[in-house]
Every structure is written in structure tokens, then in C-alpha cells.
Assembly symmetry: D2
Homo-oligomer: 284 residues x 4
């Protein structure tokens, strides 16, 4: 069974996913240490575990939890580095571009003047995202200059430099859905469509997007594994746009994926897949 | 002379340092492309340069500028990765600890409850820093619980998750100064003391700290180069505490160092050192 | 019974107090319209009520709810004006000073330089408050210049001009308690002490302060009614400091008082007192 | 000449207007005390002046400066009360509605759910403003639900309750200009059009709006004086929309008006008018 492997699950706001992981670990006979970082401080001393599975909802909590564990010599999954590469959309794009993985056409404006020029370069309509953020939050569809000015004014009022950074991308008129795959180690578990809800152009399940199983073809497998490798991540989801000509673009990567909708759409037992992967790799 | 090497200097708020770098480059006959990221958008297409020297004051501007250049296949100095490792104090500590480089005793609280426990573990007096920040800003000396509660309340009001993350460290009662060294490639240029000003316990030159040349001994050289290597940085400053027993601790690392005070204290022509290093390494 | 009077209770986050008010109204046979401003928009059209009792926790929600009702010709209790006078500590002080009601010695700094000079004038130790805020939040006890600098730096990071405004007051070394009275119309219902909890210098019940009944003497009655009149408020609590020489100072006024602790300490049926007052005054 | 009258001019960021006021005062032989609230703390003690003219750019600085002077028995122009009534758009509307002065159709949402219902009530297109703000900042033109959601998400990220308050108003399709009048005491000095610049739907001069003299007819005079009286203000500008049928609506009121553009458009010596008004009324 668990072979004496001990796994730490680090979390901040426990969701269904964390409960499923705990249950899967117990079924596998794995010893689990639960660490709620809202209650427990992190010290640079190794807890008695073989691997730390970092499941914080907050991207920075995830990065910092992984970093402290790594500083104490404990393997964190995903690593602090890959959490950052996935969590910061400019780092994600940088890694995709370096490997030649297709992504939307993008320009980055680090201030309002450069943001305006970035928009000119990309053209209208465009998408304007801050580099950090989940569930599609603050991602704005820019249809005209007047609404772009309004977005810039609002971002400038948020006391966070990252909100003043504008990642401007071509708006890709995908039918009414995107594709999400889930990668665990070197396996792509399955693929699903996320259909957007009426009244929101975003497909995020948190925004009412509807998950439906999709066929996982070879191209999807290949682009997902390449993206995961570029990011350095072991467990992550890859959001893919399907272009009119049948090719794929990587849109975003999530380094701490929710998978409730994924289970519902595909029937894959994601939690067990993750626990088995950790067991297999825990003892090198 | 410049050997046909072309250097891009990327900046946001040009300081004396950037002007000195430009002058040094011109004296060396190097072709310079100046990119003000507040005015110019960043595209994932390589500018016609051999290397990009990233000198943004804003840490995130620096990281993102480097990342976009790297995405286009251009070498950035420092790399986006090392800019992040130096800019985020938890990542810095993680890398120091991994290599066994001494640092102050630290515990991290990712929320107010865990911050309180982190402080209990470290004991009073302590230092409470957010993971991100320059010039000693928001670094609080905690003498009692009541002032700690006040700090926590204030950080909670700032709309930035990172400000709710408390890096709690033992307060090290250094005499009235710390040491800063400057690393360029595998050379430590010199060392200086920073004497704190009356009325502020912090030594930052931006807070009135007074820079004075210090003797660069072998131990300082060694710890500086180790710290630089751990971070993956090529050009950076290392802030060191000198303990009562003559040993050293690495306190912080700056991945885009100001060096006006350093020139004043040590007389080293830092700008030329940096340009020469880039020339030497530009063409592999 | 209710005499056909119809009362609107406007609220945002219902607490025990609002439930007690609703119950008291029903016992009195009063018709109640409940308006949750988080769900219902406010229009400048009169709802079919005789008076609107504004019980929002958020001071601005209270002010704006009252203002919209007043704009539609409906009497709001308290009025938008008195909600503001109580909610903004500088306005409160202004009204107290105009009527010669004693308050702590105060100077206001509208920026960091003037805040420093305000502190010089008041002397150490001092209290530094933003003009807006509840439950003692962000109220800092300043014992030395270094911690004052830290507070100023923190306030500067909050994206709200009011947090950069420093109300600096002499620290009054009250024994270990202050006094709170509750005013409804021209009646002072009772008085209570609030004993501070160990480890916090503030007496707020929300911070663990312990409420205990106090004797309501004539001086307390008089200063409470004067303060209420100065503010223009009908229903409010007055926080009073008892000086070494037996005189009183008004510290703060709350225009939408919580009264759970007050009932516990004094046994007064505050909710019925408020409803009866509204009944008595509703039809002019 | 100045008749021994002494005027204090209170300011934070001196603009051309404050310089013109100082010059006009000196020409009139008036003694002037200049108080920069960024440098000087405000105490509740009367400075040796007859009246304080409050010219702070920051609305809260203006309110608080006036309140402290009033607390010390000094007349402030405008009063703290009228500064607030003009500065908070919900208070402004409340006062207009009470007096039957026409304004745009408005509903107020104090949270995202009530904001959505407020928009439903008003209909598309609509204007969404926070209650506080100058130069048209953060005022969004809402053309569809998707952009409304984006605005709500952005406002929610700003650490200021007032930014989460949505004043939703019908979008009034004025030709390409609005009208501004300037009131000093019981005189309306003149009227001007503000023509909007290409690419911005707002007419603010700070946004490139072009000021042109307008004919001050009796209706404009009347609505301006009524609005000033409702607000309790002595010196203010009134922004008016001219409807298709020739009637007028009051849109906003400014309690500390800039008048550079006004002088340029109308030739009126506003500064002297203000100083003369203060002289005339100083010794009541």
C-alpha cells in the first residue's frame, strides 16, 4: 500500500479537491500530514514527510509554502519555481515562446502609455489581463478605446504594481468554449470543453462555464505535455484554444488546478491519480 | 572597443546609475539601445541586441522585462528567474538555506494567526517584513505584541496578498551598521558599511544610512559569491550582518542594485565594471 | 399599539442588534419594511414608510442610505448629516470644540510632514487614528518615532486618502477602562465601563473589552446629551474618558451603535427604547 | 483697500488658481496667511484671520481643513458641510432631489448585487460612478453587461469602500458638450461650454475638454443659484446638461472649482471676484 510514504498536504482554503486528495491518500494507506498555512507558521526545518503537495488557493501562498519546504530540503509538488511560472502569465508566455509552443499574439505594457501602444500593436478587439489572477478575474475584453481608458484608470487605483501591468492579447473568437487538459507527471489524464455561460465571454467554471468531456487527441496530448515541461510543473491544467484551422494555442496554465468540474465531465479519479504519482516518485 | 556588441538598457525611472551605465557603454564604444518600458510596449520579438541589461526600479517591471526578452531568445541580465529570487525575500531565504548559507532565524506566517505563531517561535524583539519591497519600506521592528497587532491590521488593509504575508525574523542587534558587497559575474567589486542614521534603526541609504568603505576579506568574498550563485544572479548586491563572533549572515540580496552610495564609499567605477562584464560575456 | 406607523430598517450585515430591533417592532405592532442594501438598490423614490432606521455596519452605507431616503423626503434616523459627523472623527472633534465639549488634545496631519509636526506638538506617547474606522481598527499607540515612521509608511500604502490623514491625540492614561453611554432622543439610557483585555490597550468590545454597568451620574448625562446635540444625532453611543480629577472627556461617538454588550452590562431593553422613540416621533 | 481683513488660503497642491487668488488678494491690500496642509499640522486653535478660504485639491483635505478651522471658531469658505455635500455625489443628489432640482435618473447600488439591480432599473446605456472622485476619474460608460461585470470586479479590488458603491445614472446623450457655471455668493459669474475631446466621452477639461463661453440665460442663473443654495456652498461650479427640449439638469457640483479654463473662456477675473466676496462678507 502506502509503502511507508508520508505526504504533506499544504492548503489555505480547503475545497472539495483537498478532501478528495486526503481520502485518496488514506485509501492508498499513505500517511498524511495536513498543514493549514493560515494557522501554522512555516519554518525552514523539514517536517517528517517525503513530499509536500502544495494545494493553496492563493498563488503566493503556494509559491511561498513550496519555497520554505524546498529551503528545508523537502521536495514540493509543484516546485515554487513552476508555481510561479504558471501563476504569472508573463512568465508562462515567456516559457511557451522559448519552446515555440503557440500562444495568442501578445504585447505587454508596464505603464499606461506603453499599454496604449501595446493595444495599438495588437489591435481591437483585444483582451487585457493583469499578469496575476485566477478565475478570469479582472480579465477585460476591450472593444473600444474609451473602455480601455476606463480599465487603465481602475487598475491604477489598485495598490498593487502588478495590476498596473497590462498583458494585451489578440481576442481569439473561439466558438463558445475552450479546452482544458489535466497533466499529472508525464500523463495527460483527459480533456474537457468549458462552454461559456450566456452573458459572460469567459469560460471559467467559477463563472458558470459548463464542463463537458472532450476527445483527447494526440495533438492535445503533445501540446499539454510540452507546456507542462516548459513550465517545469508536474501537476497542472492547460487551457487550450482550438483555432479555426484545427490547430491549438496554449492560453493559460494553472499550477494548482481545481478539478471538480473535470471529474464531473470526464469521470477520471484525479485525486487517486495524483496520490499514485506522488507515491511512485516520492522515493526517487 | 565595443567589438560590435549591442546592449539594450531597459529601465523605468532612470536614476544616476542608468546614466553612468550609458556613459560607460559609450566610452567603451558599445552600441546602446535604450528602452523605457513606461513608454514602449514589450513584444515577444527579439530587438537587435546581444544582451539586455535590465535596470527597472520596480521589481516586477524588471522580472517581466527580462521574461519577455528571454521569451524572444535574448539573454537578460539578470535573468527573470534571478530577479525573482532576489526580489522575493522568501525565495531568497529558500535558496540560501538550500546551500547552507547562514541567514537570520526566520518563520513565515501566511495569515494573521500563523503570523502570531511565527512571532512566538522567533521571540521578541523581531523584525516583520513583507516578502516584497525596497529601501526597507514596511520593515517593522516589533518590540511588543500591541505594536505587532497594529502592523497586522495595517497590512490587512493593503489590497495586495503579499502584504498579508509576514516574514518574521530574529532582530539582530548589529552595532550600528551592516555591510554591502557588490558582485559582478564572479568578481566581488568591494565592500562598504552602511551606518544607520539617528532615529531610524534601518541602514538603507535611501533612509539616510551613511556609506563608508569596508575591508573586503576572504570570508565576505566567499559568502557574497555563494549567495550570488545560489540566486543565479550575475549583477547584484549582498547585504551582510557581521555577528558578534565575527561570522557573517546574509540578510537580503538586491537583483537590481543602486550603486551611487557604493561608488562614493569605495571609488570603484561600477558602471564600467558592469559594461565590461557584459562585453566579455555577450558573445559566449 | 403600532398606531399604523411603518418603519423601515435599512441594514447591510444583520447582527443580533437588528434582530432585536425587528422583534421589538413586531411586539409593538409596528409594520416593518426590511431593506438589505447589499441586495436592493436605493432609488430616489419614497418607500411607503414613516421613518427609516438606518442600521448599516458600513459607515458609508449608512450615510448613503440615509441620504437617498432624505432625498425622497423620508426622515432617516440618524440623518445622513449626523452619521457623517459621528463617523468622521475630525468632524466629531470639530463639533465638540465648537460647543466647548472637552476632548483630548488633538492635531491633524494631512500628510507625512504635517503628521510629524502634529506629533511634535502633541508629544509622546500619542495616539494616531485615521479619521474613519470602527472597532478601534488602525488606531496606533505611538511610543517612539521609529514606530511612528512605520505607521506612516503603512498608511501610505493603503489606496485611500483618508488613511493618509493622521489624527494625532494625546495618549490619556485612563486606568483600564473607558465609559460608554447610550443616547436615544433626549434620554441617556444608561452607562457602562469597558475594561480592556490583557494585551490590548484598546477597550473596544470587539477587541475583547469587557462591559460592566456603571453609575450614570448627572455629569455623564449632561456631556452625553450635549455631544449628541452637537452631532445632530438621535440614537448614538458616546465614549467618554474619566480623568484623574473626576472630569470627563468625549473620545468618540458612534452613530450606529452596537448594543449587545450594553444590554448584557446594563439590562436595558435598548431595542424597545429605540422602537418606542421612533413611534413617538414618527408622526411629528 | 483690504480694510484690515486677513484671509487664510489653505491649500495642498498649489495650482495656477491659488497663485491668482494670492495675487488678487495682494492687489486688494488684503493680508494673506498661506497654509500648506502638507507641511503644517492643523490644530483646534484659531489662526489670526477673519476667514479661511479652503482650496485643497483633495476633497478630504478640504473637508478636514474647514472642519478644524470651524472647530476653532473660524469661518471657512466653503464650509466643511458644503464641501462634503458637493464632494460626495450621493449627498449632492440628495440635496438636489429635496429641493426639486432636476438631475439625471439615478439608482444607487451599495454592493454588486444591488448594483446589478440598479442597472436593470436604469437600463442601458448607463453611467457608473463612485460617489467620490474628480476630473471624471473612474466614471464608466456602461454599454453592456459584460463590461459592467468587469467594472464591478475592478472596483472590488480597490481597498476603499466608496469604490464599491455604484451610482448608476441614465446616460444622457448631450450633443458634445456640457455647461459649467461658476457661483460666488449670490452671483453667477458666467457660463461656459465644455466640448468633449475626440476619443473620450467625458467633457472634463482635465481630459482635454475644450472650454468656450456660453450665454448665461435666466434659467441657467436660476438653476445654478438653487443648486448652490441646496448644497450650502458659497463658491462653487455647477455642471449642467442641456436637454433636447431646452430644459436643464444639474449633473455635478464642485465645491473647490478650478477656474483656469473658465477665465480663458469667459474673461471673467474669477480670483478678484472671490477675494472681493470674502472681503464683503468677512466682517459680517
Amino acid at each position: 500500500m502506502g509503502n511507508g510514504v508520508k505526504i504533506e498536504i499544504i492548503y489555505d482554503n480547503p475545497r472539495l479537491e483537498e478532501k478528495l486528495l486526503l481520502k485518496a491518500a488514506r485509501i492508498s494507506g499513505v500517511d498524511v500530514l495536513l498543514t493549514n498555512v493560515k494557522q501554522h507558521p512555516l519554518r525552514f526545518e523539514p517536517p517528517d514527510v517525503d513530499v509536500s503537495l502544495v494545494r493553496c488557493v492563493s498563488m503566493y501562498n503556494a509559491v511561498h509554502s513550496a519555497a520554505v519546504r524546498e529551503g528545508a530540503g523537502v521536495r514540493a509538488v509543484n516546485s515554487s519555481q513552476s508555481k510561479l511560472n504558471a501563476g504569472d502569465k508573463i512568465l508562462t508566455l515567456s516559457h511557451m515562446k522559448r519552446r515555440g509552443i503557440p500562444t495568442p499574439r501578445t504585447a505587454v505594457g508596464l505603464d499606461s502609455e506603453s499599454a496604449h501602444k501595446a493595444l495599438e500593436y495588437i489591435g481591437l478587439p483585444a483582451v487585457d489581463k493583469p499578469p496575476i489572477g485566477s478565475w478570469g478575474r479582472l480579465i477585460a475584453l476591450i472593444k473600444d478605446l474609451s473602455s480601455f481608458n476606463t480599465i487603465i484608470e481602475h487598475r491604477d487605483m489598485i495598490a498593487n504594481k502588478l495590476m498596473k501591468t497590462h498583458v494585451i492579447q489578440e481576442y481569439i473568437d473561439i466558438p463558445n468554449r475552450d479546452i482544458r487538459t489535466l497533466v499529472v507527471g508525464d500523463e495527460v489524464l483527459a480533456a474537457m470543453f468549458r462552454y461559456r455561460r450566456d452573458g459572460d465571454w469567459r469560460t471559467n467554471v467559477a463563472r458558470g462555464g459548463v464542463p463537458v468531456m472532450a476527445y483527447l487527441n494526440e495533438e492535445l496530448k503533445e501540446i499539454s505535455l510540452k507546456a507542462a515541461e516548459a513550465i517545469g510543473g508536474e501537476i497542472l491544467s492547460v487551457d487550450v484554444f482550438e483555432m479555426g484551422d484545427g490547430t491549438y494555442l496554449v492560453n493559460e496554465i494553472n499550477g494548482c488546478p481545481e478539478f471538480k468540474g473535470f471529474i464531473q465531465a470526464t469521470g477520471v479519479d484525479v485525486a487517486s491519480k495524483i496520490i499514485n504519482y506522488l507515491l511512485k516518485t516520492a522515493r526517487g
